[in-house]
């Protein structure tokens, strides 16, 4: 079966801690999302663990991006989007009464598929988050620390005032990561962060994920199975279910430790996907 995948599983794949020792960051219960009444995702149940890298994989249209956007209230920006079910963040209901999206996004940051630096200087990009959130003490220090953690500091420290758009694609994405880190979040969401980048830049992003998970909890959506196998501790496989009228709804098929998903999946659909029989 997936000998190629098995061969790719990194040697440093650590032994995951015993389930009883894992700390739950997100507890997702019966989550569904619909756009204007049409369900896009339904019946998702899983737990995200602290300091893990969790990957969402699956064919296109299965709702992985929709799902990840639930964690930081980004679906609220789409008119007609409705969330059913609950997500608990460290025990607090993420969609509870009077929850403020700004407070949520302060703790749960996001990196997008296509690098989207602001048309400003590198410094102003990294400083934007702290500025709008009122964290203006030691701004220079925050910017430097964020850029260092994103492995970008050495490359840009002499030209912080240069326009962010003058950076290469890979550098821009690392700047977006730095931007996210500057507000000192708890969780980092990454929606296909390397899909617009060349292989070398991709590798750097993946290395970054390995380092960052020591301090942050990371959820990454990827359509690249090998990438999931390389970086993720836990992997969730999503697929598409066809309704009677032909509508397509995303569902969670299987969620387990990465080695298990790729070598001994419990569900036939998972095995079909990871061996490349479909999707």
């Amino acid at each position: 079966m997936s000998d190629t995948i098995r061969g790719v599983l990194p040697a440093q794949q650590r032994e995951l801690p015993d389930p009883s020792l894992r700390e739950v960051v997100f507890d997702v219960d019966d989550l569904g999302v619909s756009y204007n009444g049409k369900p896009a995702l339904k019946d998702v149940n899983l737990e995200i663990y602290r300091n893990f890298v969790t990957a969402f994989i699956g064919p296109s249209g299965c709702g992985k991006s929709t799902f990840i956007r639930c964690f930081n209230h980004m679906n609220a920006l789409i008119p007609g989007a409705k969330i059913h079910g609950t997500i608990h963040y460290h025990g607090a209901d993420l969609y509870g009464h009077e929850v403020d999206p700004v407070e949520v996004r302060k703790r749960i940051g996001m990196v997008f598929q296509k690098p989207n630096p602001f048309p400003k200087s590198i410094y102003d990009n990294a400083a934007f988050g702290p500025r709008v959130l009122g964290m203006t003490d030691d701004l220079d220090g925050r910017v430097e620390r964020a850029l260092e953690q994103a492995a970008l500091w050495d490359e840009v420290k002499d030209r912080l005032k240069a326009s962010a758009l003058s950076l290469s694609g890979g550098q821009q994405q690392r700047l977006c990561i730095a931007r996210c880190l500057a507000v000192e979040p708890d969780v980092i969401l990454m929606d296909e962060p390397a899909s617009a980048l060349d292989p070398i830049a991709t590798t750097r992003i993946e290395d970054l994920m390995h380092e960052l998970k020591n301090d942050y909890t990371i959820i990454v959506v990827t359509h690249n199975m090998q990438q999931a196998a390389r970086v993720a501790d836990m992997t969730a496989f999503f697929s598409v279910e066809r309704g009677e009228e032909g509508q397509r709804t995303g569902i969670l098929v299987e969620y387990d430790a990465t080695p298990k998903i790729f070598t001994q999946p419990s569900d036939q659909r998972t095995e079909d996907y990871v061996t490349g029989r479909f999707g």
Binding site: L77, P79, E103, G109, F112, N116, F118, R131, V132, L133
Partner: protein, 289 residues
């Protein structure tokens, strides 16, 4: 049929094609020739009186010493007031429509249709509005401020439309990135969207201003007197350069015709400078997303 010959087979088709193309070229030509003739005759005639007297002296019954100073000053004041009024209101309306308004609500769609309609209302109707409400209604009288307010209304739809396009051109990915960092809607607008849209807004506003400074009809109704010999103040009697030109044109004497042409040269130079400035801004600062 002779298949080796690829020349056009029907000469009649070629004649009508040729005539058609000639008509098209003539269509373009009419406009260009008229423009050229107009500019040449105006400059040739008005050149004679184009001197400092024109710029620095007030008008007079004697064309030799008549100038357009009050009119030029008034036009400048009108321009400044116009920018001060129309840009904040126009950009505010555009931001409301693009970032805050829910498109499904009927009152927001009505707002959009309303603005499109106002853009096409004849400018003299705005003059009537000014006459009824400002001059007579609230008793503001025939003052510069009334003229500025009415011209603001004339120009507002154009500024709104230009600002909306500039705001729409800012890619959504920038907004998403800013929201994801915890910015509120106003922070996103004020710190990301408006700065990125500023070149487009500036260009559109200056072009709108340039159109407004050439307007005469609303000013006639709102009280731009055609003979004002003293410098204008905001709450005093006033005239404006197009109105002054109108007054001179209406006089049959040749000397006043020459003065009118000189005044036209000054007006066209002012408009040309504004337009060139707007285009310079567009070329230098406009980002191709």
């Amino acid at each position: 049929m002779n298949v080796t010959s690829l020349r056009a087979e029907r000469p009649r088709g070629r004649v009508s094609s040729g005539l058609f193309k000639a008509f098209l070229l003539f269509s373009i030509g009419v406009g260009i020739v008229t423009l050229g003739t107009l500019l040449v005759t105006v400059v040739a005639k008005g050149y004679k009186y184009l001197d400092l007297v024109l710029l620095l002296e007030p008008p007079s019954a004697d064309p030799q010493i008549a100038g357009a100073r009050p009119a030029i000053l008034a036009t400048i004041y009108l321009g400044l007031l116009l920018i001060a009024f129309s840009v904040p209101i126009g950009v505010g309306t555009a931001v409301y429509l693009e970032e805050y308004a829910n498109r499904d609500r009927w009152y927001n769609r009505l707002l959009e249709v309303n603005i499109q309609n106002l853009a096409a209302v004849p400018s003299i109707v705005y003059g009537i509005l000014g006459l009824a409400f400002l001059v007579r209604g609230i008793g503001l009288g025939r003052v510069l401020l009334a003229g500025a307010m009415i011209l603001t209304l004339v120009v507002l739809p154009t500024v709104i439309i230009a600002a909306r396009e500039a705001i729409r051109a800012v890619p959504d990915s920038i907004r998403q990135g800013a929201y994801a960092l915890g910015a509120t809607k106003w922070q996103v607008v004020w710190r990301q969207v408006l700065p990125a849209a500023t070149p487009g807004i500036a260009t559109g506003s200056i072009l709108a201003l340039s159109r407004a400074l050439g307007e005469t009809a609303p000013l006639l109704l709102v009280g731009a007197l055609t003979y004002v010999a003293f410098d204008p103040t905001i709450l005093g009697d006033f005239t404006a350069l197009p109105v002054q030109i109108f007054q001179w044109v209406a006089r049959p004497q040749e000397d006043f015709r020459i003065l009118a042409a000189s005044g036209i040269i000054v007006l066209l130079l002012i408009l040309l400078t504004l337009n060139a400035f707007a285009i310079w801004i567009r070329n230098r600062y406009q980002r191709k997303w």
